[in-house]
Symmetry: C2
Amino acid sequence: MNAPHPSGPGGWDTRRQGRQRRLERAAAIGLGRLVPAARVVDLLEAVIEPGDRVCLEGNNQKQADFLAESLADCSPERLHDLHMVQSVLALPSHVDLFERGLARRLDFSFSGPQGGRLARLVQDRQIEIGAIHTYLELFGRYFMDLTPKVSLIAAQSADAAGNLYTGPNTEDTPAIVEATAFKGGIVIAQVNELKDSLPRVDVPADWVDFVIVAPRPNYIEPLFTRDPAQITEVQVLMAMMAIKGIYAEYEVKRLNHGIGFDTAAIELLLPTYAADLGLKGKICTHWALNPHPTLIPAIEAGCVESVHSFGSEVGMENYIAARSDVFFTGADGSMRSNRAFSQTAGLYACDMFIGSTLQIDLAGNSSTATLGRITGFGGAPNMGSDPHGRRHASAAWLKAGREAGGANAIRGRKLVVQMVETFREHMAPVFVEQLDAWKLKESMGMDLPPIMIYGDDVSHVVTEEGIANLLLCRTAEEREQAIRGVAGFTPVGMARDRRMVENLRDRGIIRRPEDMGIDPRMASRDLLAARSVKDLVRWSGGLYAPPARFRNW
Amino acid sequence: MNAPHPSGPGGWDTRRQGRQRRLERAAAIGLGRLVPAARVVDLLEAVIEPGDRVCLEGNNQKQADFLAESLADCSPERLHDLHMVQSVLALPSHVDLFERGLARRLDFSFSGPQGGRLARLVQDRQIEIGAIHTYLELFGRYFMDLTPKVSLIAAQSADAAGNLYTGPNTEDTPAIVEATAFKGGIVIAQVNELKDSLPRVDVPADWVDFVIVAPRPNYIEPLFTRDPAQITEVQVLMAMMAIKGIYAEYEVKRLNHGIGFDTAAIELLLPTYAADLGLKGKICTHWALNPHPTLIPAIEAGCVESVHSFGSEVGMENYIAARSDVFFTGADGSMRSNRAFSQTAGLYACDMFIGSTLQIDLAGNSSTATLGRITGFGGAPNMGSDPHGRRHASAAWLKAGREAGGANAIRGRKLVVQMVETFREHMAPVFVEQLDAWKLKESMGMDLPPIMIYGDDVSHVVTEEGIANLLLCRTAEEREQAIRGVAGFTPVGMARDRRMVENLRDRGIIRRPEDMGIDPRMASRDLLAARSVKDLVRWSGGLYAPPARFRNW
């Protein structure tokens, strides 16, 4: 037997010692658990060390924006070569960190509004991108090889002991804090207010090292609010096809909807068109979904049993509190969201994901990556994939599995639906021979093209021309023609083999509105349960309080 | 616009009202937050209602055994038609619930020791099985359509306020409690002791309704302890092949090992054989793994950077506390395990899963289901599947992807390795033409055969005869012959097409020990870093305290 080694280099508790060293530096400059906002830079410079892996909380909703700006205000001579790990790169301050020389490396999931600036930083070699992840994947790495040394998080309020109340926007906080606090890291929370007692405890005090009352409430983006007034009749038609041709046929009860007007239209047809088809209670009863205001009419009509949310949505607080049978809420009445658990439910407990994209190729691969922008994918790759680890059956999953696998199917299949109009804004075709992702791979030096959803995971493509059921395709050629067959007047659609497309239609692989008994002339906005934000407020009995930008009355 | 409905049937807070009603019934019989053990049946009969969905905590380690037995002691006239949701069906009391008429339906993940009794209950129609899940999948459903009304959990200690300390065995508790507490449910915790102050807070008090000090500490099974003395030289040989032929070639740094002597042998070769190959720091640095005692030598030799655990392991407490750089521990020094996060890391942040099975068919499908027993799969299907939602690259993942996808690969691949001797005990062949799972499907009336890992997710099969690399197979026939080619003297192995197998060997799809430069005569137990439990204790510097059954000195 080899001789045991009494200790590793520097001992076996270097992380714990490092943590102690950082806490002592903070104490030495007079900083205790509650840190005045004016001294935030002092705190950050005291507890962060060059080269640290730092997690900055923020997602498509809640942002630890005060801590982000404060970190960007630190001296690059004191703090440099930071490795940032964060769900989204959304705020200007997030990019400032790299431009100002504080941070060097980035692992993240999504960067919507800052995608252009990020691409320029990559080309100027001012940033190293570790990888672009899906949210749940990034959380998993927090417990594996991307564990943060310091995490900067946001909560609604704290008590004197340091317990945190995150309120409806719990979001990513539990995953970040647990990975950091239990591996010798430091957790710093910005809060909107100090309270004598909290409505409930979302994060226990002994997981949190420092609390700072920020000079203004943390930023929250109402990302999931869609004004019904902007839904077009083409979108109504597509929603009718999705409901009749997919939701009803597979009896889809458990699902997630992506963001966008296409799926908002479906939500607004549930209490009208779908109910008229006798589908109430038979479809769309259980959701992994943020509290979309456009789901209010379906909830009020009794179509929805349960909604678990990744985050909250501005203005929905009172409505959620009054609908505790549907939403997950605490004893205080406010929602408890949790992105990690909702993504887990979206992965393993949903029978369908339906969302939109910017480009689809002939194999069904889709991407939202376009030249000159690095955006990432958020939760879509997780929910828009067929989980081979799933073992429980449902009617939808078994039927999809039979269609894909034939008589010898040994498993079911998730339904992954891409719903797009064939042209997007500026008449850019959605269907393309080659995704821009391939050019982005070259220009950004990536290992692989940034594909959002792989074609072999896609079960259906819905366009204004009809539905292509890719599960029933038996060859790559059939698949290509099924996609061309719903690609409308795009060059990809025009290049279809008409005979083969007709054959696919005869076999039910391509279905036109009339094949489903849908008259496109009936696709009227009158079918929408709400046609304006004001209608949504009315449906909610005045409980929904839309942000000012969505009010025109 | 349709008229808004002011409320659903019975209002919008029936769950909250139901919760209030239950709490009032408990109060009416004099029960407060702290319930004496002698009154546990009164409590359960007061707060549970017939037909409730009840979650009983327990996994392959910690068990809420006192609450399980107490529930089984309730009157079936008061409590009946319960729908049990639980990770494992492990204790006799779990089955008693069904035999005594309290519970009717079961959704679970694993039932090792009770598999035979469970199968008989199914055949006698005394139980309805909803589905057999993988752990993470079941947690996902807790937030979707299997949300518990009442959860019975286990913790180490509680304070007077009701805060819980789970200590190293946090395991499934956070997922169960969050789903229950935030959907109008009731959480009842059995604890081993009441404390004035807790070492740390693992579950905040306001998520917990009732605390009971159990008459004896909750049961914990040392499931992941393997005595090195029982490792055979065939297992050493297989471990050498795995290390040299897979770990080294793919540079596998992030991984999970299944339970068993096969992978224990690999763990014990890391500081010896693997280090001699120059692999220290190049493989096996980051783990999603319970604290296997057989990993101690590799940790002590400095081969391991980080381990995140699903649960703890009896006897490893002091060792873990002294190795906080490696394990996730709290400020109190004890581990924080978390099955949901560790499974998430195992799914998305690991490049490899390697484990054993009881049967493998010609397509590579594997199962631990055998006739007359319903066992389930635990975490294996989750970790032993290629997650299509993964988007970050690593050397291992990219190489596996290139092998599987050729020049046009658009994604990487997880390595999923099945490691088996060709015959198991009683000379039962592991390789079979048809899995017993198919017969079990018929006899149990299941929708699909209970397959643990699907063949198309398996990348390699390792036996004493060699390694079959299924990624490189291009047809179903090649795949079948690659499997036959390592199936030894089983009937499946004997029926190989010898010419085709030699061709596969020429192409590197099948590799024998000698093809990897391994001399089977060198496969000696002398290579194991520890050859007994006592050796493990010595490696640990006396910190590892094995349970009595593993001590023979």
